[in-house]
């Protein structure tokens, strides 16, 4: 059980998302870094599919009336516990009954994930507990948490193990790796050069639907395109030439030309971009991208 003493900027109940509904226009959604939420779940003895919290930029103050076993994964936030104990990142934390966990600003990056032993219990919608803000369904009443909300958790079982999780190495300040998009041939040389040689900045008007990028304008020969299926990470270029990287709650089809697609392994890096961050892009081969996508978090005993 969690009481929200102060809501953060955008605290969302998330799990691994609702796959298989693309034909209904419903994206998979779910945790922006699904592997990070899985790791947090493993640290508290949960099933990988259990629901946790996705916390963005400024976190909430949470009280655990019954205590609990929790874990945080993703970028590190300034954080304190009412007990005065340190808030370890990527490790099993045991909270006493009535203890408060206060998450403040993200130190770098954008998002972290909190798992609670037993998982958060909200009514599943279309097979998932993930919040889908654009249509206001899933998660906790289809919205971000507010001060005063109370989240229930599932039954606890088994012995608690103290564990530590290690993410696959994320190199900072390197370009996001992309596969050239389906309409890359439609962009002229100036457009391609602008995009691949340019440096962009994440704009404030960015969210889980898409990251808007400011920087060199990407020109292309205007053509009416039929709407096509798209994936999170697809870089669309609307007629104004300002690229948008589609996010986890973006549309499943799009009619703008796609210049590139961020590889699966770098979606975790995309999840940590915040407004003002610089972004560059570099192409990578498909087979190499697939190999990188198989890299796993490592879970070990905390000693």
């Amino acid at each position: 059980m969690i009481e929200v003493l102060h809501a953060g900027l955008c605290d969302l109940v998330m799990d691994q998302g609702r796959s298989g509904r693309g034909a209904l226009g419903v994206p998979v959604g779910g945790a922006a870094d699904s592997a990070a939420l899985v790791a947090a779940n493993r640290l508290v003895g949960n099933d990988a599919a259990a629901a946790g919290l996705e916390i963005t930029l400024r976190g909430p103050a949470l009280r655990f009336p019954l205590g609990g076993v929790v874990a945080l994964a993703g970028t590190r936030f300034a954080a304190t516990r009412s007990s005065g104990a340190a808030v370890g990142w990527g490790e099993t934390l045991v909270l006493a009954a009535g203890e408060t966990l206060n998450l403040e600003q993200a130190e770098t990056g954008c998002r972290c994930w909190l798992a609670l032993r037993g998982g958060l219990t909200v009514p599943p919608v279309m097979g998932s507990c993930s919040t889908f803000l654009p249509a206001g369904f899933g998660g906790y009443r289809g919205r971000a948490l507010r001060t005063g909300d109370v989240l229930a958790s599932g039954a606890q079982a088994g012995a608690v193990r103290l564990l530590r999780a290690r993410a696959p190495a994320i190199e900072r300040d390197v370009p996001l790796r992309v596969v050239a998009g389906p309409q890359a041939g439609q962009f002229d040389d100036a457009g391609l050069l602008a995009f691949f040689a340019g440096s962009y900045r994440v704009e404030t008007a960015s969210d889980r639907r898409g990251l808007r990028l400011g920087g060199p304008t990407v020109t292309y020969a205007r053509a009416e395109l039929p709407s096509q299926g798209v994936l999170p990470g697809a870089v669309q270029v609307p007629p104004d030439g300002r690229p948008i990287v589609l996010g986890w709650d973006g549309p499943v089809t799009g009619g703008y030309p796609v210049i590139a697609g961020v590889i699966a392994a770098d979606m975790a890096k995309l999840a940590q971009l915040r407004p003002g961050d610089a972004v560059r892009f570099a192409t990578i081969e498909l087979e190499r991208a697939r190999l990188l996508a198989t890299e796993q978090w490592k879970i070990e005993e905390l000693t």
Partner: protein
């Protein structure tokens, strides 16, 4: 880049990787029959299949690629035209006025008066090509050529759910309120998407639609 692009023919669609997890398959008028065939295989590497206009978009699970099973399924012949047995829906529409603010401009562009424009839009039986943009938002085929119209130069910040709209060669219905760039010609009270319903989307690909002026 690994592009396994074949010459288009009726039974062997071309396909192309567009990211490490996304495969676009050109399926033409076999899109919905191929969709049904692929879904029924329940292949473990496939996370989702998204039908669009004349193509399918296959989403792969992380780290997986094209299996022999899938390759065989993609080159297997399927029936040319989808069955026309999709459910017929009658959607009651209030055309024009505050419900359809772009109708006068579109009617003038089409060289019709408002009543003739409405008759023209409502005279056709449409088919649902695919859903996208928003959960449950249908892209309908069958819009008469005279009614085709480009999207608005600057999108509206808020379009009401139920707005009946024109975007290029499609007509569609906004399933949720939000920003939108299509031209709004009317409004329906039909609920296009409700995640709590057993069938959340009112319309499915292959369904047929008739608009009934109120």
């Amino acid at each position: 880049m690994e592009n396994d692009t074949r010459a288009p023919s009726q039974s062997h669609p071309a396909w192309r990787w567009i990211s490490d997890r996304g495969l676009r398959v050109e399926t033409g008028d076999t899109t919905l029959t191929r969709y049904a065939a692929l879904i029924s295989l329940n292949l473990p590497e496939i996370e989702d299949i998204i039908p669009a206009d004349g193509c399918l978009f296959l989403v792969f699970r992380r780290g997986t690629g094209l299996s022999e099973n899938l390759r065989s399924a993609l080159i297997a012949p399927v029936a040319g035209m989808p069955a026309t047995g999709g459910t017929l829906h009658e959607i009651v529409v209030e055309y024009g006025g505050a419900a359809g603010p772009d109708l006068p401009v579109l009617a003038e562009r089409a060289g019709l008066d408002a009543a003739a424009y409405i008759n023209s839009h409502a005279a056709v039986e449409y088919s649902v090509a695919f859903l996208g943009f928003q959960p449950g938002f249908p892209y309908l085929h069958g819009l008469p050529c005279a009614l085709h119209a480009p999207r608005r130069a600057s999108p509206r910040l808020r379009v009401a759910a139920g707005s009946v709209a024109i975007g290029g060669g499609y007509t569609g219905i906004y399933s949720a309120s939000g920003p939108g760039g299509w031209q709004i010609i009317g409004h329906t009270t039909a609920v296009m998407f409700d995640p709590q319903r057993a069938a959340p989307a009112l319309l499915l690909p292959g369904d047929r639609v008739r608009f009934v002026p109120r």
